[in-house]
Symmetry: C2
Subunit: 211 residues, 2 copies
Amino acid sequence: MKVIDWSLYVITDRKIQKKSNKEVVEEAADAGASVIQLREKNLATRPWVEEAQKVREVTRRRGIPLIINDRIDIALAVDADGVHLGEEDMPLVLARKIAPSLIIGYSVSTVEEALKAEKEGADYLGAGTVFPTSTKKDAGEPIGLERLKEIKKAVNIPVVAIGGINLSNLEEVLATGVDGVAVVSAIVGAESVREATRSFRQKIELFRRKL
Amino acid sequence: MKVIDWSLYVITDRKIQKKSNKEVVEEAADAGASVIQLREKNLATRPWVEEAQKVREVTRRRGIPLIINDRIDIALAVDADGVHLGEEDMPLVLARKIAPSLIIGYSVSTVEEALKAEKEGADYLGAGTVFPTSTKKDAGEPIGLERLKEIKKAVNIPVVAIGGINLSNLEEVLATGVDGVAVVSAIVGAESVREATRSFRQKIELFRRKL
């Protein structure tokens, strides 16, 4: 697997976006997002593929990895870099078997789940929800910063923190040692996706320089 | 591709079934179904995989091909024999590319669509809806027996007739020269799936002997 900069992982959400996936991804990519995840719900396969194709063009032109939520068939069809899976999605072991070349991420909220996912072949983890969030109804109870730190310490694969992360709490999240932050509403729901992404990127760079 | 007996292609539908997919498939397979298609709607990937795994065991034990509706990822995950696609599903060309080893079926209702699907790599066609049907709301206008015959004549790949086929019209459908009939409600919605399947099988055998 090629080396990936996980620092600013932006996830689309058309329910809260003011623009199309393609436009949002363009702005985020231009302003410093290092990974894009395309997430769609209740979409038939054909329109899902079409959304993914549009975004794939944008991310390829900018050399940014594209991760598809849940659907391995869509990821393979548009030649995306990876898929992100959770407990309602394809079991990790099967995903690993049918898509050996994809980057596979898995959502975890405990150290136990993190160790299991690493053992089953996950390439990176999405750990959360760190703080309360309105974006994902099934996100569960917030795990907090201490648990996040434990998860990061427990595994050798990259850990991306997710859930309720904004410019105010970004620094304390980064201080846990995670490899990056995944952001939905604070970026794709912002008035200006470009400005929001740029602010996150600046804070991340500032934090790195302090290390 | 191995040679497949397309004569009696049974499609599940939990909305009208009185039993689970596994039980329905067991009964149909024992009583003479030659192909099974598992069709699910609005199911998350994880439970979809679980349904498919249960049915896969049954069909494998009986040596009957299993086709998965729409989802190539599920078909690959459970090592099914194929997928069936329509206009809301994965485009045929992409499906062929990402799943070279799967049998791929495609739904058509005109000669033009049939020729296009054959050219794009479909292994068989589902042609219909032949008669009016209540099972599939988006099935469109009935194509009738004449159109069915034209489609069968136009292509070199197997053609399975679908839509509103029952014991009363079965013989006239078979007389068009199609390779098989796909049945939903008249079998999986019947009081006894076993009896219904057996009746279809007997009529098909009788028709074949007359040829």
